[in-house]
Amino acid sequence: MSSPSAPPPTPSPPSPMKEAGARSTTRLGDRIFSGLSKGSGIALLVIMAAIAVFLAIRAGIAIAADEGNFLTTFEWDANADPPRFGIAVLLFGTVVSSVIAMVLAVPVAVGIALFISHYAPRRLATPLAYVVDLLAAVPSIVYGLWGALYLVPRMTGPFQWLDDVLGWTGVFAYDGTPARSLMTVGLLLAVMILPIITSVTREVFLQTPKANQEAALALGATRWEVIRMTVLPFGRSGVISASMLGLGRALGETMAVATVLSPSFLINASLLESGGGTFAQNIASQFKEAGSMGRDALIASGLVLFLLTLLVNGAARLIIARRKEYSGANA
């Protein structure tokens, strides 16, 4: 912006701040305030860039020194000289436990959301929605504590039964040791992401136009048919994006996994037996013993986790954006 006291020889370029262009006397307060708020926005962008850059620098150091293959090595000897470590086990464990969580949580969450939006008596629905929102706020360490001390001992029986019925597949083989396995982790993650998926899904279901639901009713649809004709098609993209948000939470969850899982750098064919690990759990568990190279290696694995969650959240945003266009076209 040009100074008002010295008129410039050429017409001043349009100011980025619209006040300056619109009024001849730009008030100092306005400039300071809009500058501050714009600065905050830019600061956020800088922080995001810094996160990516600093993690990448550290990860670069670690990966350059890695004697193993960063992607395929089944070991984590980052403090050894030379260091050997790879993320294969962590990637497997992170994805598998999160997928288990999704498979268990999404159908149940959709069910609860429907229960609150369309089935429960009103007197029950409102407090229930409130309770679900409160449960979404329970700290993850509390879920972790509950998972380790309450859930794990109680999983032995069901796992034994799964082994009896499906043990022949290998995936559900069980040796009777404490159930500190990826399956238990997946179950606990499912319980954890249930409230968040439920509350987003419920909001979408409640937005289903009443006019459409009444139209279906007036055609002689039963309650379930009304839901299938109007609520589910309308809410489908909302359910998908809610699930992706839940998946993002499950992928990055640290404490619930660190407390429940008995980690090892092996991929166990059975989901019911202990072993494996996740990115976040590995970082939390190894951090205190890690030396300088060990930390860099953990940061490198953290960068992979960061990219993974970016991917999932980006996909969720894309779906939400599409949905906005879609409903906008119909408005």
Binding site: G29, G41, V108, L134, A137, F279, I283
Partner: protein
């Protein structure tokens, strides 16, 4: 559609019959479902006893499956397939609700039942200084102090940054910069807490060579808090009617004063709610604290110098000791933590309700 068959007369043009429906149809009386439920429980118990299944969960599962199957079969034979499907959907939706409430209720119940006995005035006012893992006693004073200081420091960083960014997005932001900020705020919302911790670790501790401190943890918490504050504030500011802004601007009030004196006060209820929900969220974070605050059994009131503790970290450490005494302390601290978070939530929602009418909706 395909006009191959041209209707010859009025009768043919009526097409296939759609079919009359009777207004009355046989319906299952209410008591039949209750009877089915009782019968299913009986079958579940019977099978459980005969087959010597030791887990009550399996009994319940059998009973539930029998109930679902029998309801569907009975309804299909009496009421017809459509109504049977309707009933099946209702039963499954109720089942989802019950299935989900079991672990969630158990979580709350366990924490309260195992935690409350350990909570005492002594527990709240003493640290773990000199208490070994297998000993009784000790407390969480140092952890509460750490949590409060870290959360307050994080808010001091995050609230102005978040508020101003939201103001920029709603009141000033146009074009590419605003879109980029909106997008990256969304991205920030999804950052795993441990990644935020790793960032501060690599910048503050590894590169700038500062030590572990509450402040380092607070920075990571602030990164997690900012996007929540931006999002909720943005929503609230958008609810403020444009007429209010225009009325103020028309009186010659400069824009920044309009925002400070008219827009923000109108939305303050909702903004406060959002901030408190964000506080509740970060107060329970553990992962960045492990990396940046490190943990300390003694009271350290200075968040800028030396390791501290925090409530969630304390729970994690006590769990890690693996002794009964430590488990008791972990549950008690978890109960205190839940109470802390729930109070924040309830107050936030209380404010939202109290301020709702004047919130400019």
């Amino acid at each position: 559609m395909s006009g191959t068959t041209v209707p010859a007369d009025e009768e043919a043009s009526r097409g296939p019959a759609v079919g009359r429906v009777a207004l009355r149809r046989p319906r299952l009386p209410g008591w039949s479902l209750a009877a089915l439920a009782l019968g299913s429980v009986a079958v579940g118990t019977g099978v459980g006893l005969v087959a010597r299944l030791d887990s009550r969960g399996q009994w319940g599962l059998i009973a539930a499956l029998v109930f679902v199957g029998a309801t569907f079969a009975l309804s299909a034979s009496v009421e017809g397939r459509r109504h049977a499907v309707d009933r099946l959907a209702a039963v499954l939706v109720w089942a989802c609700f019950i299935v989900a409430m079991v672990p969630l209720a158990s979580l709350v119940w366990e924490t309260v039942a195992r935690g409350i006995p350990g909570v005492s005035w002594y527990f709240l006012t003493h640290s773990m200084n000199g208490v070994l893992s297998w000993q009784e006693g000790g407390g969480i004073y140092h952890a509460i102090l750490g949590t409060v200081e870290q959360v307050l420091l994080a808010s001091v960083i995050a609230i102005p940054l978040g508020l101003l960014t939201a103001v920029y997005l709603v009141e000033y932001g146009r074009g590419r910069l605003a879109r980029a900020i909106t997008f990256f705020v969304d991205v920030m919302t999804g950052i795993p807490s441990i990644v935020a911790g790793l960032f501060v670790l690599s910048l503050w501790i590894m590169m700038l060579d500062f030590g572990y401190s509450g402040f380092a943890g607070a920075m990571a918490l602030a990164i997690l808090m900012v996007p929540i504050v931006v999002r909720s504030t943005e929503e609230m500011l958008k609810l403020v009617p444009n007429e209010l802004r225009e009325a103020s601007l028309a009186m010659g009030v400069p824009k920044w004063r309009t925002i400070l004196k008219v827009v923000l006060p109108t939305a303050i209820g909702g903004i406060t709610t959002g901030v408190m929900l964000a506080l509740a969220r970060i107060a329970g974070e553990t992962a960045p604290i492990i990396l940046l605050v490190f943990g300390n059994n003694m009271i350290n009131g200075n968040p800028f110098e030396g390791a501290q503790s925090s409530l969630p970290l304390y729970v994690y450490e006590q769990w890690g000791f693996g002794t009964e005494q430590a488990f008791d302390r972990a549950w008690a601290a978890a109960a205190v933590l839940i109470a802390f978070v729930m109070i924040l939530n309830l107050v936030a929602r209380g404010i939202a309700r109290w301020k709702a009418p004047s919130g400019g909706r």
